[in-house]
């Protein structure tokens, strides 16, 4: 506690530090909300300038950007079905349907509150147990556990937002199939590339996400407009009530735990955290068929998880010097620019820096709540923009967003092609959420499956010796069994589509 107070005083006693804190907060929110130019773009742009800052200010700036950047993308995901970053994609699954139902204020409010809550819990956990948790997570979670986690996530994904469970599986299978394109993760053998150089690196998931969410939505709305069925979404500024949140307390607590542990694991980070948080919400729900159609719990789970991952991602970075993702890798660069190395010695040699960073992350999450509340009251009015202004702007934003990642015009083509495919699939009752889940989890799953198989010497009995992996695999198989049971023994239809 004493360290935290000291860190807080250091942070807020210096005018420059305060300005850097505010700049990082607003910059992260702004860049996080624009597809294609995520918080990573901001991190890359400012990297050269951090050389002139103190190491404490520089690392603090990146940690604040990380917190606010993960939240920023939720707004566009909810209002326009454009996730600002991959970790906000599950937020769009239910956030956008809520907007269509005239509950945009409630969805944005939930995102604000849960982002702030998830991030704050994560910061508190990070402060209390960084070295201990880092060592445990690194030793207990290897490729078998990560594969089992992905398997479990995929098993749940099929039940999100499709007309039938089979269509859910087809959607997930399509996403997994798209993830196959490129080089195989073990030996680098070309698969489904058709000798096209562009496909060697695989199909990037950001153009697919932008196409499948934003472009397909514009096309569907355009079709409704052409047939006279278009209805502008109602603008509603109602914040979710305390009672609504209280009902979701278990979902929030579960998402904090999932997000936090996913965040600790190097290379997993906020994206998988958000997907896993969402999948678990679906799995535990008594009405899984309602997800993808505007369930507040969907927004709550996704946003709590991805923000809970932010504090956790700092744990392996600070305690072991292992970056969990791209932004934390940039932080290593910042450390090195100041002739420092993150790792166990940081706690002894640069205790002040560590506690300023911890305090900054804590207050950044508190600030998200205040700024986010103001944002809810203002940004929802964007929905008043008429369709003929909004549609071209969304298309152009998606175009720039997909091109900006790798500067490849082929990504623009992939984005529009994914949009058209998404348009037809949504009209036919397939789940775009399932496709995206399959696409993101597929790459991680295959890589870890290959490593796990080698580690386990291809002997299924060896999995039993890893209780976490075995437990997750059993849960995944149980989920399959439950889906099949519902399919065979539930007479009345369970799944209804919203399109």
């Amino acid at each position: 506690m004493e360290n935290f107070i000291q860190g807080t005083l250091t942070l807020f006693s210096d005018f420059t530090s305060i300005m850097i804190f505010i700049g990082g907060l607003l910059g992260g929110m702004f860049f996080g909300a624009i597809p294609g130019v995520s918080m990573l773009t901001l991190g890359a742009i400012i990297l050269p300038f951090t050389g002139s800052m103190t190491p404490t200010d520089a690392i603090m700036l990146y940690s604040v950007i990380y917190c606010s950047g993960v939240f920023g993308g939720a707004i566009t995901a909810i209002l326009f079905n454009i996730p600002g970053a991959p970790e906000n994609a599950p937020t769009a699954f239910d956030g956008y349907p809520m907007t269509q139902k005239g509950m945009a204020g409630k969805a944005v409010g939930a995102a604000v509150l849960c982002s702030a809550f998830g991030g704050t819990c994560s910061a508190l956990l990070m402060m209390s147990a960084t070295p201990l948790l880092a060592n445990w997570a690194i030793s207990a979670f290897g490729p078998p556990e990560i594969f089992a986690l992905v398997f479990f996530g995929i098993a749940v994904a099929a039940s999100v937002g499709s007309a039938t469970i089979w269509k859910g599986w087809l959607s997930v299978g399509l996403g997994l199939s798209i993830a196959l394109v490129g080089l195989d993760p073990v030996a680098g053998i070309e698969r489904y590339t058709f000798s096209i150089t562009y496909l060697l690196a695989g199909i990037h998931f950001i153009p697919v996400i932008l196409g499948i969410f934003a472009i397909s939505e514009v096309l569907l709305q355009a079709e409704k407009r052409a047939t006279g069925a278009y209805k502008a979404p109602k603008v509603n500024l109602d914040f979710p009530s305390f009672l609504e949140f209280w009902k979701l307390k278990i979902a929030v607590a579960r998402s904090v735990v999932i997000g936090f542990f996913a965040g600790i694991l190097p290379g997993i980070g906020a994206t998988l955290a958000a997907f896993m948080g969402y999948s678990e919400a679906v799995r535990w729900s008594k009405k899984p068929e309602e997800f993808g159609k505007g369930q507040l719990e969907g927004v709550v789970s996704s946003e709590t998880s991805n923000n809970a991952a932010t504090g956790a991602a700092m744990i392996p970075l600070l305690a072991l010097g292992l970056p969990g993702g791209a932004l934390t890798a940039m932080m290593i660069g910042v450390f090195q620019m100041h002739n420092m190395e993150p790792g166990p010695l940081v706690f002894q040699n640069s205790s002040k820096l560590v506690w300023v960073v911890f305090a900054a992350m804590f207050f950044a999450n508190i600030s998200i709540f205040v700024l986010g509340w103001l944002q809810t009251k203002t940004v929802v009015h964007l929905l008043r923009i008429p369709f003929h202004f909004l549609a071209p702007a969304i298309m152009l934003l998606a175009t720039i967003g997909s091109y900006a990642i790798r500067s490849l015009t082929m990504d623009i083509f992939v984005m529009f092609a994914a949009g058209i495919l998404g348009f037809f699939l949504r009209r036919s009752g397939y789940s775009v959420a399932g496709i995206v889940l399959g696409l993101i989890l597929g790459k991680i799953g295959e890589q870890n499956f290959a490593q796990a198989s080698q580690m386990m010497h291809y002997d299924i009995m060896n999995w039993i010796g890893r209780p976490i992996a075995a437990g997750l695999l059993i849960c995944g198989i149980g989920t399959f069994a439950m889906q099949f049971y519902r399919l065979v023994f539930t007479k009345k239809k369970t799944y209804v589509i919203d399109d």
Binding site: V37, T41, I45, A163, T164, W166, W169, L170, V172, G173, L174, L176, S177, L180, D184, V186, A187, I189, R191, Y192, I215, A222, E223, A226, H388, F389, P392, A393, M395, L396, L397, T399, I400, Y403, A404, T409, I412, F413, M415, F416, A417, G419, I420, F423, R427, S428, G429, E446, F449, A450, S453, Q454, Y458, K491, K493, T494, Y495, V496, I497, D499
Partner: protein, 175 residues
């Protein structure tokens, strides 16, 4: 067993074509990998099998699950609500973005985008000349300035003579 509408057979045919061709293509990269028993084709074949059985399951469910006319399957709901044939206007709406995506590399973002936005607005039913010109230009200028000047995002300038010159000229002005 009930008679299925044509679109469901088309859907099933699509998935069969997808899985069979994807499976056939796996033989093109079915090579042994040192230290990895399943090789490069093992994982893809599992995925293809999942898609194949899901497509089969979907077909069987549609054929056998909804015999009672009072009990509609979800598929019926889909076919009633969203399988309306697309009009020529909608097909154009799907085609125009692809044409834009294919031309943006050679003609450049700065040249093609205003025309694309105008065409798209026209197809969505906008006929007021002021809006048809003003809205695309406004959005184009706002986003171009934001990304080119303030966010330093390099956008395609085109590679054909004349168009490349135009693209770089616009970038110079914006910056």
């Amino acid at each position: 067993m009930r008679k299925l509408p044509r679109n469901q057979w088309i859907e099933f045919g699509f998935w069969m074509f997808f899985t069979i061709s994807a499976f056939a293509l796996t033989f093109g990269f079915d090579r042994e990998v040192n230290m990895y028993k399943f090789g490069a084709a093992g994982w893809p074949r599992i995925i293809i099998a999942v898609v194949f059985f899901a497509a089969l399951g979907q077909l069987l469910q549609s054929l056998f699950k909804a015999e009672d006319p009072d009990e509609k399957s979800a598929t019926d709901v889909v076919s009633e609500e969203t399988h309306e044939p697309l009009g020529i206007n909608m097909w154009l709406m799907l085609g125009v973005p692809l044409v834009y995506a294919l031309t943006v590399e050679s003609l450049g973002f700065y040249f093609t985008t205003p025309f694309f936005l105008m065409a798209y607005l026209y197809l969505t039913g906008e006929r007021r000349l002021g809006f048809l010109i003003g809205v695309p230009i406004g959005i184009y200028l706002f986003l171009s300035i934001l990304f080119t000047k303030f966010l330093y995002v390099g956008l395609p300038t085109g590679n054909l003579p004349g168009f490349y010159g135009f693209g770089t000229w616009v970038v110079e002005i914006l910056q």
